[in-house]
């Protein structure tokens, strides 16, 4: 693993981005707390204790859960962290997303940004981690991503609840004239045991909020938890089964206009010529305006209803400039393969790989080439945002994964100050990384300049959404292993090439920052796996393709999980070792990993023979701090291969809500299976060829396997949950298909080579 000296010389992207972002401030700034944004907007009788807790005189308790709720249950569990320490039940509280504010920074999102495996607890790794936590606060990004919300919130949300509770007790003690130590709390009220007197939180909230926050307080031990560690009812469930207007696309405002966009189908290209006359004649169209943003160029259609805007968009006839990237998938593939010819930058370099291969007998070497395609996110809710610009003040409503960045980019776009912008973050109809991008917000903000102060809801067609994503990039890998006499690998060399996600995100979100240094997302999921192999090298090369690449559920893990674990299965077969046994041997240094592998093998009855026509495959990936083993069982049927069952064992360190965690593991596996089975984004003439669910489909209920999940809590650090089920599922499926058919598939989607039932 890398030493600090090496890192300093090489730099690495995320840290570099932070530092280049102009964060030249000292320790004092880091220690200084942010102002509480709730103070600016309190209702009558409301008191706020910190950015996460408000209590009204009527005992209405509001918890701010300032992360994007995109289905992963984050609002419920963040609220439970506060409620646990505040001694209130979840059905007693209101949960809000709250305003865009630096007070809601996510430092956890940065913590694992260094070039270290999660299990690397060397002084170097820990030093960089603590440095990145500071950077996280300095950047003050209010972001949801990297499966980091619980790791970031676990301490501060519980502290927010505990501090408020202690202040409420102190105020109650004064009011009742008793000692604070004789008071106890339950369900939003404070009771004096001896006298039986009690007050509600609301009755003392105003007095309590005026007190100084406690310098010290004790958080509950795990054994005392009433809510955490147990499945909670989701706070958003009733709204979601009754069709309540909770999504960005549901926003309705007085005098609202509707719109859509027609952006250049070639990324970054401007229109060379355009004929808008037919579109303008479409009944219901109010105005067609040019859109020029850092995300691309095109036209905004302002209309009386969404359908009129969609129809008009179809009637725009435009010629678009040539792109600055290769025109079609074959040419892009050529760029990726050429990149593989470069030396690259080794993020992991154990032993001496070159020497280990130099004298290897040919029959001891196995080699393979792997590839995966570009992928779209296709959230169920197509991109949209609603904006109103009136008297120099912008209000914008939309689901998004980064409200403070949204505010900043809209300010840049409109040339107004950030304090003239209010971001209203709604629930997201799916996120998966798509809504950390800001195109939908910028387009709506730009169009709001043209409506004379009227609000406008801008909804993209599914076609526009599919063709203007920030895609999971295509990637290629070249792998080589040398087997020892016992069949175990003595050397493994993995070279990976793909367009840089980090460089792509910087170009769109922070254009003033130039990316330098290797991009860790190219090697994530490969360099950081808990295998011990004497000579083990993982190198990444950024391929120069400027098609927008973005964060797609599990990011590098979605690529490298497939590569690493597919090739590991090939090593097992070549070495004549059972795939489960191979992993137990190679991961012996990491008991948490071994326990996960043993658990999933036991659940799936791995050692029991299956009837003819059925087979299993397994894979393991450590990502976002969680150790996940998956086994997929497939069956040969007359209609094609059927995925019958998936077993998942995941060690998340501390399981805050087992119900939500199980749902997320299954969700992430289905997301990965959808991609592995049939999804790919391809290019022709510089444009995306797919457009809607007929040619970019996802798993349907009739294809969905049965799931069995085990959640383990062996490792001493908490892991993430929202993405970790995705990386191992594609290789487990491909490995199962190999076991079933003898066909080794090294390229996704699998549907190019097999048929699924």
């Amino acid at each position: 693993m890398a030493s600090l000296g090496k890192i300093a010389r090489r730099t690495f992207l995320i840290g570099t981005a932070a530092i280049a972002g102009g964060i030249a401030v000292g320790y004092y700034y880091y220690r200084k707390p942010f102002a509480n944004p709730l103070e600016a907007d309190l209702g009558k009788g409301e008191a706020t204790f910190n950015p996460f807790v408000k209590i009204g005189a009527d005992n209405t308790i509001t918890i701010v859960a300032p992360r994007a709720e995109m289905g992963q249950g984050v609002s419920t569990t963040l609220a439970a962290l506060v409620a646990e320490e505040l001694d209130v039940s979840l059905d007693q509280v209101k949960v809000e997303h709250g305003p865009a504010s630096y007070a809601y920074y996510n430092s956890g999102i940065m913590e694992e940004g260094g070039p270290f495996a999660f299990f690397d607890e060397s002084m170097t790794a820990e030093t960089v981690r603590s440095g990145l936590l500071v950077v996280g606060k300095l950047l003050a990004l209010q972001g949801t991503g990297g499966s980091s919300s619980m790791r970031d919130g676990f301490g501060k949300m519980r502290q927010a609840g505990a501090a408020a509770r202690q202040m409420l007790i102190a105020a109650a003690a004064q009011k009742l004239g008793v000692a604070a130590g004789d008071l106890e709390t339950a369900d939003g009220s404070i009771r004096h045991k001896a006298s039986g007197k009690s007050v509600s939180y609301g009755e003392v909230a105003a007095a309590a909020a005026a007190l100084a926050p406690p310098a010290q307080f004790r958080l509950k031990d795990k054994a005392e938890w009433k809510l955490l560690g147990k499945p909670q009812k989701r706070i958003d469930m009733l709204a979601k089964v009754t069709g309540a207007p909770i999504f960005g696309i549901d926003v309705r405002l007085l005098d609202m206009l509707y719109g859509t966009v027609k952006m250049s189908p070639r990324f970054w290209s401007k229109p060379v010529s355009a004929d808008l006359s037919k579109a303008r004649k479409m009944p219901g169209v109010v105005k067609i305006v040019p859109i020029e943003t850092n995300y691309g160029h095109g036209f905004g259609i302002i209309a009386e209803n969404t359908w009129a805007a969609f129809k008009a968009a179809e009637l725009i006839e435009a010629k678009w400039a040539d792109p600055d990237y290769p025109l079609d998938s074959a040419a892009i593939d050529g760029v990726l393969k050429r990149a593989l010819g470069e030396k690259g930058s080794a993020t992991r370099d154990d032993g001496d790989v070159d020497k280990a291969f130099a004298d290897a007998p040919r029959e001891r070497i196995i080699e393979a080439d792997y590839a995966v395609p570009y992928l779209a996110h296709t959230t169920m809710e197509p991109m949209n945002a609603t904006a109103q610009l009136k008297d120099g003040v912008l209000d914008i409503w939309c689901g998004n994964q980064a409200p403070t960045i949204l505010r900043q980019l809209c300010a840049n776009q409109l040339g107004i100050e950030q304090d003239k912008i209010t971001v209203h973050t709604t629930f997201l109809g799916g996120g998966f990384g798509r809504r950390i991008e800001m195109d939908y917000a910028l387009y709506a903000a730009q169009m709001a300049k043209e409506t004379g102060g009227r609000p406008i809801k801008v909804t993209w067609t599914r076609e526009e959404d599919t063709r203007h994503d920030a895609y999971r990039p295509a990637a290629v890998g070249k792998f080589q292993a040398r087997l020892g006499d016992d069949g175990l690998p003595v050397a493994l060399d993995m070279k990976l090439a793909s367009p840089s996600v980090t460089a792509g995100v910087l170009r769109r979100l922070f254009p003033s920052i130039s990316p330098i240094g290797p991009d860790k997302t190219i090697v994530d999921g490969a360099f950081d796996q808990p295998y011990s192999i004497p000579n083990y090298r993982v190198s990444g090369i950024a391929a120069p393709v400027s098609i927008p690449a973005g964060f797609w559920r599990s990011v590098g893990g979605s690529i490298n999980g497939f590569f690493h674990e597919g090739f590991m299965d090939e090593i097992a077969v070549a070495g004549k070792i059972d795939p489960v046994e191979l992993r137990k041997k190679l991961m012996a240094d990491h008991p948490s990993a071994v326990k996960v592998v043993e658990k999933v093998a036991e659940m799936a009855k791995w050692n029991e023979a299956l009837p003819a026509g059925k087979a299993k495959g397994m894979a393991f990936t450590l990502s976002f701090g969680s150790w996940v083993g998956e086994i997929v069982q497939v069956a040969d049927t007359p209609a094609g291969i059927r995925i019958e069952k998936v077993w998942i064992a995941a060690d998340v360190g501390t399981a805050l809500d087992p119900g939500i965690i199980e749902a997320q593991l299954i969700s992430a596996a289905i997301y990965g299976l959808s991609a592995a089975m049939g999804q790919e984004i391809t290019f022709a003439d510089g444009m995306v060829e797919q457009s809607n669910f007929h040619d970019f489909d996802a798993m349907r209920i009739f294809q969905c396997p049965v799931f069995e999940v085990a959640i383990l809590e062996n490792f001493h650090k908490m892991g993430g949950v929202g993405e970790v089920g995705t990386p191992p599922v594609a290789p487990a499926l491909a490995n199962a298909i190999f076991a079933l058919t003898g066909k080794r598939i090294r390229t996704l989607p699998l549907s190019k080579q097999v048929t699924f039932a």
Binding site: T242, G431, I701
Partner: protein
């Protein structure tokens, strides 16, 4: 033209070619049915016309003759529909965006088949996409709803 939606009458001024979905969402203000694809490929826009499930994104409003029921109109007398109740009890939804369509398809299924088999569920629900992967819970909730309905809950 006049539409009956969730038991209420609405007079709207719409191009008859406008899909029912946009008449509901933009003109009438019923945002429960969702826009997902516009080509009847994802089911998020599912509503009932005279009890039959239709993809409202692809049905011109001028062709609608029957009474329309949306997700906002299936609870009665302040009580959730058994399918909604089952969805709640099974904690089905994640992002929730497709669930209005899922629930409307499930209601139509149970109106036709009181005790659906797995194959019945596959057939009736195959047109409803969910990107969060809530299918195992949807299946469980439909079976629970069948029990709730039979018990008259």
């Amino acid at each position: 033209m006049r539409l009956t939606v969730d038991g209420q009458s609405f007079d709207i001024d719409a191009d008859p070619e406008m899909p029912l979905l946009w008449a509901l969402r933009d003109l009438i203000g019923k945002t429960g049915p969702k826009f997902g694809c516009g080509i009847a490929a994802c089911g998020a826009c599912t509503v009932h016309v005279d009890g039959q499930p239709v993809r409202s994104c692809s049905l011109p409003v001028g062709q609608v003759t029957g009474a329309i029921t949306t997700i906002e109109g299936i609870a009665a007398n302040g009580k959730l529909h058994p399918v909604q109740q089952a969805w709640l009890e099974e904690q089905v939804a994640q992002c929730g965006y497709c669930q209005a369509g899922q629930i409307m398809s499930a209601v139509a299924l149970l109106d036709e088949v009181a005790d659906p088999s797995d194959a019945d569920i596959d057939n009736a629900m195959g047109g409803n996409l969910c990107r969060c992967g809530t299918y195992p819970k949807i299946r469980a909730a439909i079976k629970r709803a069948a029990v709730l309905r039979t018990a008259g809950i």
